[in-house]
Symmetry: C2
Subunit: 112 residues, 2 copies
DNA sequence: TTTTCATGCTAAGTATTCCTTAGTATCGTG
DNA sequence: CACGATACTAAGGAATACTTAGCATGAAAA
């Protein structure tokens, strides 16, 4: 069986996804922190520590970042690039499209 | 010391998703912990604290649980049920199916 | 050029949270 | 009744994050 190789990375997944999404949004580390509700005097240091992989933001904080950056929270935990891309795309769909897509995937699974 | 009471869910997302996936797999809290590499004498207490929402497992630990329970790690962070279902289904697809599905979603986004 | 400011970044100590230990309670079964 | 398995919890020591107080660089204003 083929198993996804779990390797220890120089920069942790959460750190790099966070940076990736922030750069896409085109705002500074400090600005992102403040928009997420972090105190303005600590926002810069904290966000930088997150992006450097020095510390790990808790779930609630990541949910706020997700809201600010307009990405699904799950994106920050996606080690696999294909999964990450799917998450970004799926989040943009309407509720109806999401339901239809799920029905579509179920058919794929059955037919295998 | 007084602390601001944050509107808190009865049971946090990670906690309930973890239990949901474990029950689906049909194993005990202790067994899941041990299979994920936690010391056998602490596995029961730790996993229980996770499922009660008393403590939060770090990302690496959740990746191990995901591997044991055969669900994508992102599932544990999915607050939305539709997203959660999609994650479970998507994880079961072949690489080729995943690519095709992504191409399909991209068309949906364009046509909107 | 010089000053100023935004940005990214870091060390260190305090604050906060988790992990381990040592249990309790309950249920089903031999 | 034991006995084991399971779920669960309090408390303290261990580990990690958050805050403070900065430094370095580059760009833009003066």
């Amino acid at each position: 069986m083929t198993r996804t190789q779990i390797t220890t990375q120089a920069v942790p997944v959460i750190a790099s996804r966070l940076r990736e999404a922030r750069l896409l949004a085109g705002i500074s580390q400090k600005a992102m922190g403040i928009l997420a509700g972090i105190d303005e005097f600590t926002a810069s240091a904290r966000v930088n520590q997150y992006e450097q992989g020095k510390h790990v933001p808790d779930f609630l904080t990541l949910e706020k970042f997700a809201s600010v950056l307009n990405v699904p929270t799950e994106f920050f935990y996606a080690r696999d690039d294909v999964m990450a891309e799917m998450l970004l795309l799926f989040a943009q769909l309407t509720q109806k499209q999401k339901s239809q897509l799920i029905a579509h995937i179920k058919k794929l699974n059955i037919d295998r």
